[in-house]
Amino acid sequence: MTLRLVSLFAFLVWVALPFGAAQSQTERAPDTMAARVLACASCHGADGEGTSDVYFPRLAGKPAGYLYNQLIAFRDGRRKYPPMNYLLDFQTDDYLKKIAEHFASLRPAFPPPSPPTDSKEILARGESIVKNGDPQHGIPPCSACHGPTLGGMEPGIPGLLGLRAAYISGQLGGWRYGTRTAIAPDCMQIVASLLTEDDVKAVAAYLSSRPAPADPSFAPHGSLAMPLECGSEPH
């Protein structure tokens, strides 16, 4: 082989090597929040829209402050649900804030409302509590804090539409029995403990039967005069 051929060969090897090395390197995961929170998708949907499992809530479009409070509460054990407590155990405040902001920014379509399986009377009782409360028993209307459109209020109050009856009654039950707690004063704990079993059923039935909101956004901070103090929604 002549010297020239040898050097040509060496040159080819030199050109081809880094290319080959680059090829053999495996691909990196996309540097996005969506790829990082794929772990949430099997219960909450890839865009936080919820799944067919009625016990798992929609996350998309809830105020970031609310989602952040929940993530912290799960991590620190204030809100008890072992699968979530376990997943968030060793994550930092900063990262949980980014996760909250990610889901708050998404606007996937709402699911069709569940066809009501409860009687008209039950739905009417639910509607009445949601809109007017039950002044006799000291129960404020849901809409007083969650807004007339039930879209929630920044930063800490979630929207109530797009959730299934099983999830809503599960959460109200959680407050009554102490598996779900929030920063004191825990206003929802107070409200939930005033509700009867029938009230819970009626509210869950009514809320889950409502169609998607035309404007799925939350009320600005401080725009609703809240009837009671809430630790998670400071003035």
Partner: protein, 416 residues
């Protein structure tokens, strides 16, 4: 001696020890305190001595053991409820010999069998640091142990069998780095608490050091650090081990389960030199090279059914992140092909990762980790067994198949 004079004497002794403690506090120099803080991180004191949402180092964390529940103690400098009255001698006695200032025996949930290797100088630095943390007045909760384990004198028996007192002795035939790594892994790191099997008497046998075992109550398997078939690091580069310990993710795999806690609270805070030293020591623990991969020992009709279902599930649920050939997208989505953690004799961890999912810890080096979704609610026992069998036996992996019953049993494992 009258009761009064005994009381007086006791009072005097207490006052004296308080004076000694105060004098020691004044003498501590900031460099020693900073060193103590660093060493307290290396010993991961915070993980057990701080309850969830509790005050730092005030104790009160419930530790479930097969013998009952132990509650960790207050190690803040509060004089009544913490260790504010302790002298550095008494602190060293507890670290080195597992005895309280009054001579009482410490339950071995406190890893004094490892901490005994810590030097007096390092013990004093940790002591100096603990004197500077905010004191918290919080009484220790009494332990809730079942008979006969509520009898502290039983600890004597345990100590005879499993406790060998003695500071770390460097091996002069090894490098300074290796010795530093050994000191941290065997001493403050107390890695052997999980990575050496715990027997029915709640002890670890020195002859089985770092050979792995199931962690009681938690139902995670702490892999062997000596076998390259498990978590033996013989085939890992030093860089990969350092990444794994400090960032929680590396090209060959990610931290999960109880190890995530260790990285989150302790290892991520250690400096480069120390983590590198640990890596060198750990790599050296692994014996020999990886054994030859045996041919897959599967082909019964049942296994091939399991495998074809497993492949179907893998392609549908796993391949988008872990790759069609199990290559993953390291370090974010760990590779499954060649991943030692998946092929160990114990399939507990692989099954639990499929059931429960998991996130590596958020660390300074990897602040926004990628996570694995739980599948417990979506896959049946048969499906979990099929997909775990598939990943344990594909792409040259040499794990054994798992059964639906194994998958079912782990559904009840405690999550946290």
């Amino acid at each position: 001696m009258s009761r009064t004079s005994t009381g007086l004497l006791a009072g005097l002794a207490l006052a004296l020890s308080a004076v000694t403690a105060l004098a020691q506090q004044k003498a501590a120099d900031p460099a020693v305190i900073a060193k103590g803080e660093y060493l307290a991180r290396a010993g991961d004191c915070i993980a057990c001595h701080t309850a969830r949402e509790g005050k730092t180092f005030a104790g009160g964390l419930a530790m479930k053991t097969p013998f009952g529940t132990l509650y960790t103690s207050n190690i803040t400098p509060d004089p009544q409820t913490g260790i504010g009255m302790w002298t550095s001698d008494q602190f060293y006695q507890m670290m080195h010999n597992g005895r309280f200032p009054d001579g009482g025996l410490v339950y071995p949930a406190m890893p004094f069998a490892s901490y005994t290797k810590v030097t007096r100088e390092d013990s004093d630095a940790i002591y100096a640091y603990l004197r500077t943390v905010p004191p918290v007045k919080q009484l220790n909760q009494p332990h809730d142990l079942t008979f006969p384990f509520n009898n502290r004198s039983l600890i004597l028996g345990w100590r005879t069998l499993f406790f060998k007192e003695g500071e770390f002795r460097p091996d002069p035939s090894k490098s300074a780095e290796w010795n530093r790594g050994a000191y941290l892994v065997e001493g403050l790191g107390h890695c052997g608490m999980c990575h050496t099997a715990i027997n029915a008497l709640g002890g670890s046998s020195q002859s089985q050091a770092f050979e792995g075992g199931l962690i009681p109550m938690q139902n995670w398997y702490a892999p062997s650090l000596t076998s390259n078939k498990e978590a033996g690091l013989g085939d890992w580069t030093i860089e990969e081990i350092v990444d794994y310990l400090r960032k929680g993710v590396a090209a060959k795999g990610a931290v999960y389960g109880p190890m995530a806690e260790v990285v989150y609270n302790s290892l991520q805070y250690l400096n480069d030199e120390d983590v590198r030293a640990m890596a060198i020591y750990l790599k050296g623990l692994a014996q020999g090279t990886s054994p030859e991969k045996p041919a897959a020992s599967l082909p019964s009709a049942e296994s091939s059914l399991l495998l074809s279902l497993g492949k179907q599930l893998y392609d549908r649920e796993c391949a988008s992140c872990h790759g069609a050939s199990g290559q993953g997208m390291p370090p974010d989505y760990p590779p499954l092909a060649g991943n030692q953690s998946i092929q160990m004799v114990s399939a507990v961890n692989a099954i639990r990762m499929v059931l429960n999912g998991g996130y590596p810890p958020g660390t300074a080096g990897n602040p926004m980790p990628y996570g694995m979704p739980p599948f417990a609610h979506r896959l049946s026992d048969d499906e979990v067994a099929a997909v775990v069998t598939f990943i344990r036996t594909s792409w040259g992996n040499r794990g054994e198949p798992v059964s639906a019953r194994q998958a079912n049993e782990l559904r009840a494992a405690t999550l946290n």
